[in-house]
């Protein structure tokens, strides 16, 4: 337990597999998190992200594979021998100790001299030094969360693990804490590994996000990269919403690949396609679509679909969401369009005839194919996934 690196340390997972009786939680996972980064593991419940976290903390042992922290193999060491601290989902504050006692706990176990002073300093960082004498049960949820954070960072661990730390807070408080956590990470400069199922939380806070599904990492990159260029069906749907179309590659002309969907030819930048032959699924984000009430002239660099009919209009505040269908072309699935509310009221009403267009640059092609004809766009809308980007940029 020698090196407690102030700048944090690299975390390296090598070929980790973890099986429980009856199922495999993690399969052949390789992951490197550079020192000082704010890394988010994002995925639905049961995808293996929490198990990954517990493996790093030493609360579970991998079935096979190695865990390295700062280049040192810690696979066989116990939790109390690892330079790692966790902010638990339930906070796990000791109810029989004061706030101060909780924050001092780790320092005292390691025999640090000025534990009291350091604990107060950490509490100051989360602005709770005035409540040091209270019991955890006398604090609000947000305050408990801060104490849990202080209790972990006071130890200056090489790696700080956050297990859905904001899950129990209400929406407004969660937003505040997201910004605060990010600020604290910048201030203390530790390596943060954050596990969450909330895509907005992951994108707001982390500089690198790994999307995890069924024990594997589907895609890893900056939040912007993941959103603008999803590589798999799962990522395209889990991170925001996507309009997906499945068709056949018919030509590759220069920088663009032409995909024919229900007799309509769409151009996708070849560089943004994972596969360029056979049946492929291509997509575009709903906010990238432009809703037109008259058929425009065909133009280079713009894809066009239509005529379509508006079936539903819902107002969400920052944007208006339109659902459209293609009654004249049954091969095309229903699609969603998010339009920024630049004028009062909806631009078109249900029943109106419209055309959809988008810049070729915004399209993407996935590695795996969706079931033909199915629409994912409307499937997974929840309150946190309202994209707010403007239409044509």
């Amino acid at each position: 337990m020698s090196a407690f690196d102030d700048a944090g340390a690299d975390l390296e997972l090598r070929q980790i597999t973890k099986t429980f009786p009856g199922f495999t939680a993690i399969e052949q996972l390789d992951l490197t998190i550079p020192a000082g980064s704010f890394f988010a593991l994002l995925g639905p419940s049961g995808c293996g992200k929490t198990t990954t976290l517990r493996l790093v903390a030493g609360l579970e042992e991998p079935t096979t594979g190695r865990v390295l922290i700062g280049g040192r193999d810690v696979t066989a060491t116990k939790p109390h021998e690892r330079p790692v601290n966790t902010v638990f989902q339930s906070y796990a504050l000791f109810p029989h100790m004061t706030v101060q006692g909780n924050v001092e706990f780790g320092l005292r176990r390691r025999g640090v001299k000025d534990a009291g002073a350091r604990a107060l300093e950490a509490l100051k960082l989360v602005q709770l030094d005035h409540l040091a004498a209270r019991r955890p049960s006398q604090l609000s949820g947000g305050q408990q969360q801060r104490v849990a954070l202080a209790r972990a960072i006071v130890n200056r661990p090489a790696l700080l693990l956050l297990d859905e730390p904001l899950g129990a807070l209400d929406l407004k408080l969660r937003r505040e804490m997201q910004l605060e956590l990010k600020a604290i990470q910048a201030e203390v400069g530790l390596t943060f590994l954050h596990v969450t199922h909330d895509q907005e939380e992951a994108m707001t806070m982390a500089d690198t996000v790994a999307v995890m599904n069924r024990g594997r990492i589907e895609q890893m990159g900056s939040p912007q990269e993941l959103y603008e260029l999803p590589r798999t069906l799962f990522v395209a749907n889990f991170l925001g919403q996507s309009n997906l179309l499945t068709g056949d590659v018919v030509a590759t002309s220069g920088a663009n690949t032409v995909v024919e969907v229900g007799g309509v030819r769409l151009s996708i930048p070849t560089a943004r396609m994972q596969r360029t032959s056979g049946a492929v699924t291509v997509g575009v984000r709903p906010e990238k679509l432009l809703l037109l009430t008259e058929e425009p002239k065909a133009k280079r660099g713009v894809n066009l679909l239509g005529p379509a009919r508006v079936t539903d209009v819902s107002f969400t505040g920052v944007s208006t969401q339109y659902q459209v269908e293609f009654p004249e072309n049954s091969a095309l699935p229903g699609m969603s369009v998010f339009a920024q509310n630049l004028v009062f009221g909806a631009v078109v009403n249900p029943g109106a005839e419209v055309w959809l267009s988008w810049s070729v640059d915004h399209g993407f092609g996935l590695a795996d194919a969706a079931e033909p004809g199915s629409s994912f766009a409307a499937a997974e809308a929840d309150d946190t996934s309202v994209a707010v980007a403007a239409g044509e940029s």
Binding site: F20, L59, E61, A76, K78
Partner: protein, 306 residues
Amino acid sequence: MAFGAFAGGPAADPGIGAAQRKSRVVLLLLLPGVIYLALTYVAPLISLVLTSLQSPSPTFDIGSYVYAFNIGNYATAISEYAPVLGRSFLFALTATVLTLVIGYPLAYFIGVTLRRFPLLQSLALVLVIAPFFISFLLRTLAWKQIFSDEGPVVSFLQALAILPHDAHVTGTPFMVIFGLTYNFLPFTVLPMYTSLERLDLRYLEAAGDLYASRWSSFWRVTFPLSLPGVVSGTLLTFIPATGDYINASPSFLGGLDTAMVGNVIEQNFLVLQNYPVAAAMSIVLMVAILIPVAVYVSLTKTEELL
């Protein structure tokens, strides 16, 4: 999902796997208690079965027996004491029904009516368990003296000419059942209270909203939801009441013709030293209790209580 050891056992040697370490801790935690129960619960039951099959020693010393396979003890136990067995069940069952009928409204009162007054609720609970804190034998004797021939109750009833002048209350089946009901009432009330205390009153509002009268809300919502408490409460009364030998003892509330199984077993074991028959009676009693209890539990579909 197993997370490792937290017992202050010896530090694990490197090289010993987590699974092995875990099973060592589990053994360390479980073995002393399990061995203890094996020696003081399981072994005595086996011993009881062995004793129930013993034959008198050939020397005919009192209280001296040899191991045998003497089924005759069971025949003696059943043929000779069938009326006692029947009486025990009748008394215990009557007392159980009485505790249920008397205790349910009380449990409802504490668990539901008093819910808005936490302090009164706590006080009422203390009153229910208060009899536990005074000696079982003394509180039973107190009733004997209150209902004695010269005592206040009998004198009063005789003065009102409700009871004839030569009437006794102590020593009668009424008094034994009264004692059983009194002594086991808290056992019935507490589990029923626990069930009713957790009852979400919004269910009753929902039932009312769906056109249920007060009466049908009670029978279709409240009572079924309190059933686990009713079952464990009645079991906690029925089982000990059947084997009880204090209330029915002539020194306490019983008379010469109110003997229950417990009295017979005690007599044979501790006074007559007729161990084999007493042991056979105990086994018969246990089986006779376990069978109806199993049926009762499966009928009310409350197996998970066990």
